[in-house]
């Protein structure tokens, strides 16, 4: 059961009148990961999340959380979920503590000690008895995280969690999510359009555009099995044309020879170039940032 996906989206479609917001999305989210959900504005991220937590009905298909359909067994399915959908809205006329009590009452088995523990975790000890209307956005975000993790959910869903946070706040949130994921085994599902952010935060990402899932990839690949994996490598040489004729499968890119080879082959290629009398000025691993990959995939076209 270890590898049973925490969330399973099965051909999920959302139609509002004649507009299709999300089309036939099928996706498994494995447990114990920080899973990113990427897409440009209006791609259907929030709509998908709303369907996952039962705020919006599903036109076609089904979503299962820990094996329970959100349609048929809403109460059981959703008891495994903690979420912030868009901004962390709280009851402003209540104190942070009263807000937490409010949500604690709606779930079973949350003790006073657990509330205190969570308050400590998100670092709100000093302000928890102040009214929420006096909180800054960062503090509200923390309170939002606190209410979402009160019941130790197996799945934590955060929609655009870094919206409006300052760099320090973003960093804290990132560290905190990593901690949750690794210490408590919580699966974290984060949506965002901030690519650099996601790259730092997530283990895997799914990319959605115009309501369709276009790619799911692991971001761990880069570091994993670097011994045997072929890496896009660039050679900076004095005579690119000659180099091209020697190396099969190589391409010329901005006066640099690029080809996809393993670690050992890099050394061999270098030796061949040197033997052929070509001067090698530099060897680089061509890493494309997620942003470049993303723009490439989504064709750079924005809101469709």
């Amino acid at each position: 059961m270890q590898h049973e996906p925490v969330v399973r989206l099965e051909g999920v479609t959302k139609k509002v009148s004649s507009k299709t917001l999300v089309e036939n999305v099928t996706l498994d989210i494995p447990p114990g990961q920080v899973f990113g959900f990427l897409g440009p504005n209006g791609a259907g991220k929030t709509t998908t999340i709303r369907m996952m937590v039962g705020l919006t009905s599903i036109s076609q298909g089904d979503i299962k959380i820990c094996g329970y359909s959100i349609k048929e067994h809403f109460e059981t399915a959703v008891s495994n979920v903690g979420a912030i959908v868009e901004n962390p809205e709280m009851y402003k006329f209540l104190t942070g503590y009263q807000n937490l009590r409010h949500f604690a009452r709606m779930m079973t088995g949350i003790t006073e000690a657990r509330i205190q523990e969570v308050v400590g975790l998100v670092g709100l000890n000093n302000r928890i008895h102040d009214k929420v209307k006096t909180y800054s956005l960062g503090m509200r975000q923390r309170l939002g995280v606190a209410q979402a993790i009160l019941h130790r959910p197996k799945l934590l869903i955060l929609d655009e969690p870094t919206n409006g946070l300052d760099p320090q706040g973003i960093r804290e949130l990132r560290d905190y999510l990593r901690l949750l994921c690794h210490e408590e085994g919580t699966t974290v599902f984060v949506s965002s359009h901030l690519l650099s952010e996601m790259e730092l935060m997530c283990d895997s990402v799914a990319i959605i555009q115009n309501g369709r899932l276009i790619d799911v990839r692991s971001l761990k690949d880069r570091s994993a099995d670097s011994q045997s994996a072929a890496i896009e490598t660039g050679f900076l040489v004095d005579d690119p044309k000659k180099a091209l004729s020697i190396l099969e499968g190589a391409a010329l890119q901005d006066s640099m020879i690029t080809l996809k080879i393993t670690r050992d082959e890099i050394a061999e290629t270098n030796a061949r170039l040197v033997q052929a009398g070509i001067k090698v000025y530099g060897i680089h691993t061509v890493t494309r940032s997620l942003e470049e990959q993303f723009l490439e995939m989504t064709g750079g076209d924005q809101i469709g």
Binding site: L55, V78, F93, L94, F103, R105, M106
Partner: protein
């Protein structure tokens, strides 16, 4: 999963932790203190009985009681939507029906609190100020002042109960507190005009209008209302309307897609 009582407790917290609620309850108390006082000033003969005073003052103050209950009812659902907290509320392991029911129960509890407060204060002040024993001609012969007064307030409460149901439904359907308050109060104040325009004496279909039946106090004097309608008929019509209002609220709340 959990118990329903804690949901109601939550809703009560959201009502009574707001300054607004205490301002409303304060106004209700003050007005119920002042109105019998004003009566005692104009009552030079000293013949007014306690019950006369209670009933007279409640004809004024029950409006306030209804307005405040309508405000709480209108804000109950619409408020969650305008604060955005509905998204946090609906992703708990509770069905939407139960969440809506907890809101409705808390609204009804508030309206009962207002009514009890109103009756209690005006009874207390009236009993201190008035001692006249002459029962006025308002009362049905053979009924004691106490019974008549309680029946009168019960009729007022039925009126409030239906008005609150309308406000609660509008709040759920339109998610706009202002609109719900406005429309509910509009109905409350104009139902007299509707009754005059569309009297069941003139049009038989008018006896199926809700406006004809909201004020039941006329049955305290006579068994038959305008156009030959009876108390039983009025209650049946009100019950049908009430069930329709509740059904619409529940249906809309359950089906609604919660979007920004």
């Amino acid at each position: 999963m959990g118990n329903f009582f804690s949901l109601v407790q939550n809703e009560n917290m959201k009502i009574y932790r707001r300054v607004r609620t205490w301002v409303m309850l304060g106004i209700l108390v003050v007005v119920n203190l002042v109105i019998p006082l004003l009566f005692s000033m104009v009552d030079s003969e000293g013949a007014t009985s306690i019950w006369d005073s209670v009933i007279l003052s409640s004809t004024f103050t029950f409006f306030l009681c209804t307005i405040f209950s309508v405000i709480i009812a209108a804000d109950s659902v619409a408020g969650e939507f305008s604060w955005g907290t509905i998204k946090l509320l609906l992703i708990r392991p509770w069905s939407r029906s139960k969440i809506l029911l907890s809101k409705y129960v808390s609204v009804i509890l508030f309206s009962l609190l207002c009514t009890v407060l109103l009756t209690g204060v005006s009874l207390l002040v009236s009993s201190l100020l008035f001692s006249g024993s002459a029962d006025s001609n308002m009362f049905t012969p053979g009924k004691s002042g106490l019974v008549f007064t309680l029946q009168y307030i019960l009729c007022d409460y039925v009126n409030l109960f239906i008005t609150v149901a309308i406000a609660f439904m509008l709040s759920t359907v339109f998610r706009a507190g202002g609109l719900a308050i406005g429309l509910a109060l509009f109905i409350m104040f104009t139902k007299g005009i509707f009754m005059t325009l569309f009297s069941p004496e003139r049009y038989t279909w008018a006896k199926y209008l809700i406006f004809t039946h909201m004020d039941l106090t006329s049955y305290l004097q006579s068994d038959v209302g305008p156009g030959g309608i009876t108390l039983g008929f009025s209650l049946a019509v009100l019950a049908v309307y009430y069930i329709v209002f509740m059904a619409i609220s529940w249906y809309v709340f359950k089906k609604r897609d919660v979007a920004a």
